[in-house]
């Protein structure tokens, strides 16, 4: 089919349907919405990392003309509004549940990080609300903050419930067999490693508008969310603000998320609650500074790892001990990230017979930490790919060769850490990567660099990740509070065009195009005849949203099944119209064909017939043509690939140039290669950003955020990165009907260790901290 002109179906790199509104300034982001009579919220945020609130004095703020209300946590509590929740219960080694400290939307008696929500001021203009917020007097009794991950135990408790600041002490794998493997090892490679903390910084700051209709006792929330239905569920069932049928959540155009807009935030709850209090729509638009302070951050681990090898370089075992920073409160999925999205990926692409990992999740007086592009998998990949490369160096084995010796090449493959890999071809992606980077000529390029006074290095990362989360039964057994299926509803209109309602949410991924490509392909109708509807709980019945690269593997699978149901019903209708037996109709390329006759009916004709329903045997065929599906996959999916980075370093200044970067990924079936490549590019830059540019820093004494704006937090710019050479190998995923694995996070997962391994290779050192800034590189290059 791909050879057809104007082909828009699966595999076609067509232009995006949604682009026109974005390139002409017609997008509708939350802050673009103005509700009649809206007023503005400004939050009073804690200027200190840890303190008891002795008194909140709102009198001066209330005197400011235009201030309508100053609302506090005490009032929230009085109104019976409960705190925010973490939706994933992780258990400690001893079988006890994690200790989830309370998480009020507005602080009640204590603040726990700089930026914590103390009160909200509602004003008739944004300026007035902000000025009002400055006039709220808060008397703090300061407490020593806990910032340093290595000294949380014994420090002041962030939550009284968790005396040692330990939320959970989790383990995965088997300790004894792993210890035995180390007993038999010929070589043990050890690595202490830090995975630096990142601030997501989607370009659109978070925003929310809460609205309350008194006559209907009904709430509406416009918000920057990756999953509006989950937001509604949490705000209804746990926060208790309104029952689900009395709360509509709309996530319109959303300007990027990268995980940070999965979570249910205080501001959303407060805007809804305040809207009822003041009787007007309440709008809050976060400033970038607020995003730095109070969006959930990502990563932030310190780990010690050991890899046991035999004399031939075969891996025997892996032991890992990690401390994961959860921040001051447990964000919506915080506990799952450093556990089930991390430990389960520590086998990588390798046969490692025994793995044992321990993770202590700890509280600190810093912003909550939760999923950020990759979520747990980048941390696992970074650790594993660094230690594998270190082992290669110690054993003087070519790092590509060491990987090949240990690759999994039989599928399905059961790892010692839960995952059962269904399919893959790791040799194929590595070989293609080596070819594309020109590995055999690397020494020549290195010599050329050296002649110019530069140092050149090459680094590898052969990563795996788990996407498409996932089988509801599996995640449920691991502690998830929700099922992770996805829903789809395919509505065929009488005139033959189609509306598809999905529970996924597009905030840059291009679902309006790729989902339409799938449907157009399936039905044999023009892509212009397909419209994708998402992001509104009044339109779409339910859905789990978009994160974890799940929308293709799970969301499009749901659409596929729903489309198949439409075709099945269409066949029945066609058989009735053709007066042939129901099982003698085929559907191909938009035509229902009588197998043993020359009769055919177009998709549009069947659609019309379904709604006219004239002469239908209504006991056998209902009128109408609309089908739905709640799709629950049978397994995770396992995108994998090979990233190779080549760097050139100026040892005199420490400046680094990424001379070449190759990414060869296996995402299974690709719907739109143009969009998939775009996802890879973006992910790579976030991965490279972590390696050389981005790092969130808190002052260890005061808990103040040092990197609180783009002036100090280095966002990747166009001239920081090169153009990438992106290739793909394909093994179709057997676990879903589309054969897709997911492509949204791979770049951010694979790139980071490739870059750091390249720097280490160039400098001939053992380690370098991330971000590898010019000064750090200069110091490493000069032994300082």
């Amino acid at each position: 089919m791909i050879s057809k002109p104007n082909f828009t179906g699966i595999g076609a790199p067509i232009q995006r349907k949604e682009d026109k509104r974005f390139i002409t300034g017609q997008g509708q982001y939350t802050d673009d919405i103005a509700r009649p009579g809206q007023v503005y919220a400004a939050f009073v945020r804690s200027p200190v990392a840890h303190a008891r609130i002795k008194e909140i004095d709102a009198s001066a703020a209330l005197e400011l003309e235009g201030v309508l209300a100053v609302l506090t946590g005490a009032q929230l509590k009085e109104d019976g509004i409960a705190g925010l929740i973490c939706g994933w219960t992780v258990q400690s080694k001893d079988g006890s549940d994690m200790i989830a400290g309370e998480h009020p939307a507005l602080a009640v008696d204590k603040v726990r990080y700089v930026g914590d929500h103390v009160a909200v001021v509602i004003g008739t203009t944004n300026h007035i609300a902000r000025q009002g917020a400055e006039l709220v007097g808060v008397d703090y009794e300061e407490l020593d903050p806990v910032v340093d991950l290595e000294s949380v135990r014994g420090a002041n408790p962030v939550h009284e419930e968790a005396a040692n600041n330990v939320c959970f002490e989790w383990e995965l794998g088997e300790k004894e067999p792993t210890d035995d493997a180390f007993g038999k090892a010929d070589h043990v490679t050890k690595l202490d490693i830090t995975n630096n903390r990142l601030i997501p910084n989607a370009m659109e700051p978070r925003a929310a508008i809460g609205e309350y209709n008194q006559a209907e006792d009904h709430y509406t929330l416009y918000t920057t969310s990756q999953n509006p239905h989950v937001a509604r569920l949490v705000i209804s069932a746990f926060v208790g603000l309104a029952p689900e049928h009395k709360l509509r959540v709309i996530a319109p155009d959303v300007g990027g998320g990268f995980g940070s807009k999965i979570f249910i935030y205080a501001e959303e709850v407060v805007c809804l609650w305040a809207a009822k209090k003041v009787g007007k729509p309440v709008k809050w638009t976060g400033e970038r500074s607020e995003a730095f302070l109070a969006d959930a951050h990502g990563r932030d681990h310190i780990s010690s790892a050991e890899l046991a090898l035999d004399k031939d370089g075969k891996f025997l075992g892996l032991r890992v001990k990690t401390i994961a920073n959860l921040g001051a409160y447990l964000s919506t999925f915080a506990s799952a990230v450093p556990t089930y999205l991390y430990g389960t990926l520590l086998s990588g692409q390798y046969q490692i017979p025994a793995i044992y990992v321990e993770v202590d999740g700890v509280y600190t007086n810093t912003a909550p930490v939760d999923a950020y592009r990759g979520a747990g998998r980048p941390e696992a990949t970074y650790l594993l790919e660094r230690i594998v490369e270190k082992a290669a160096r110690e054993l003087s084995i070519d790092p590509a060769d060491l990987r090949k010796r240990n690759f999994i090449d039989q599928f399905p493959y059961q790892t010692p850490v839960i995952m059962n890999y269904d399919v893959g071809d790791y040799h194929a992606s590595l070989e293609e990567g080596l070819e594309r980077i020109g590995y055999s000529d690397f020494e020549t390029r290195k010599a050329q660099s050296e002649a110019a006074g530069k140092k050149r290095g090459i680094g590898f990362s052969t990563y795996i990740e788990a996407c498409g989360i996932a089988p509801s039964a599996a995640v449920g057994s691991l502690g998830a509070g929700v099922g992770l299926w996805e829903s789809a509803e395919v509505r065929v209109n009488p005139t033959g065009n189609v509306e598809v309602l999905t529970g996924c949410h597009s905030h840059g991924q291009g679902h309006e195009t790729t989902f339409a490509q799938l449907v157009s392909h399936r039905f044999g109708i023009p892509i212009e005849s397909v419209e994708i509807v998402h992001g509104d709980t009044d339109k779409v019945q339910f859905g789990m949203g978009t994160y974890g690269s799940r929308s293709g593997a799970v969301g499009m699978s749901a659409i596929t099944v729903a489309c198949d149901k439409v075709i099945t019903k269409g066949k029945k209708i066609a058989a009735h119209l053709m007066e042939v037996p129901a099982d003698s109709v085929d559907f191909e390329d938009g035509l229902f064909l009588g197998k043993d006759s020359n009769k055919s009916l177009a998709f549009g004709e069947i659609a019309l017939a379904a709604y006219t329903a004239h002469g239908f045997p209504t006991d056998e065929i209902e009128p109408g043509l609309k089908e739905s599906c709640f799709y629950d996959p049978s397994n995770f999916t396992f995108p994998a690939g090979c990233h190779i980075c080549e760097v050139e370093i100026d040892p005199e200044t420490g400046e680094l140039d990424i001379a070449a970067f190759v990414a060869v990924d296996d995402f299974g079936t690709v719907i739109n290669p143009m969009i998939v490549e775009g996802q890879v590019h973006g992910g790579l830059v976030q991965g490279i950003g972590q390696a050389i540019l981005e790092g969130c820093t808190y002052d260890k004494e005061s808990g103040q955020l040092v990197t609180g704006s783009f002036m100090d937090y280095t966002m990747p710019r166009a001239d920081d990165v090169p153009s990438f050479d992106v290739g793909m190998t394909v093994t179709e995923c057997p676990s879903n009907p589309v054969g897709m694995k997911g492509c949204g996070e791979a770049g951010a997962i694979g790139a980071t260790p490739a870059v750091i391994n390249a720097i280490i290779n160039a400098l001939g050192v053992d380690s370098i901290e991330m971000p590898a800034t010019p000064e750090r590189i200069w110091r490493a290059a000069n032994g300082l």
Partner: protein
């Protein structure tokens, strides 16, 4: 309060605003032209770039009052009816946008860049995008789109 009169996308506009009103707020809130975005508060991200008297500026770092009497073009005014500006068309063709939030500023910056330096190579484009942040695309397709648009506009 002051009254600020401008010509925006070819139309004469006027609004009474507080003295402290930024040009971006004048456009978004008073004229309801919401295509111009606000992505930061330190004048770095470039989501708010518009043209004032033909030159790209950050509308978050200019007072509405400073634009009195000026000719302003925003992303809404770039296309000619249904015909996209070549830069807009190239952004779509080369997938130079994902979430679309930085896009208006990127496009307005690119139009200005091509005006200043018609003959653009990749390193120059990357360097000239110093004032525009994108978190989605990794820049590669933005660079391709700008290069293609520049070539097309030169021919």
């Amino acid at each position: 309060m002051i009254s600020v009169k401008t010509t925006v996308n070819g139309e004469e506009r006027s609004a009474d605003v507080e003295d402290r009103t930024l040009l971006v707020s004048y456009l978004r809130e008073h004229l309801r032209l919401t295509g111009t975005h606000i992505g930061c508060d330190t004048s770095q991200c470039g989501a708010c770039v518009v043209h004032v008297n033909g030159k790209a500026v950050k509308s978050c770092t200019m007072l509405a009052a400073q634009a009195e009497g000026c000719n302003i073009t925003t992303v809404e005014g770039l296309a000619d009816g249904d015909t996209l500006h070549p830069v807009q068309a190239a952004f779509r063709e080369y997938h130079g946008l994902q979430c679309g939030f930085c896009t208006p500023g990127m496009i307005m910056s690119a139009v200005d860049l091509i005006r200043r330096i018609p003959d653009l190579d990749e390193p120059t484009i990357r360097q000239e995008l110093e004032g525009n942040l994108c978190r989605c695309t990794g820049y590669q397709n933005i660079v391709k789109a700008i290069k293609s648009a520049a070539e097309q506009m030169a021919s």
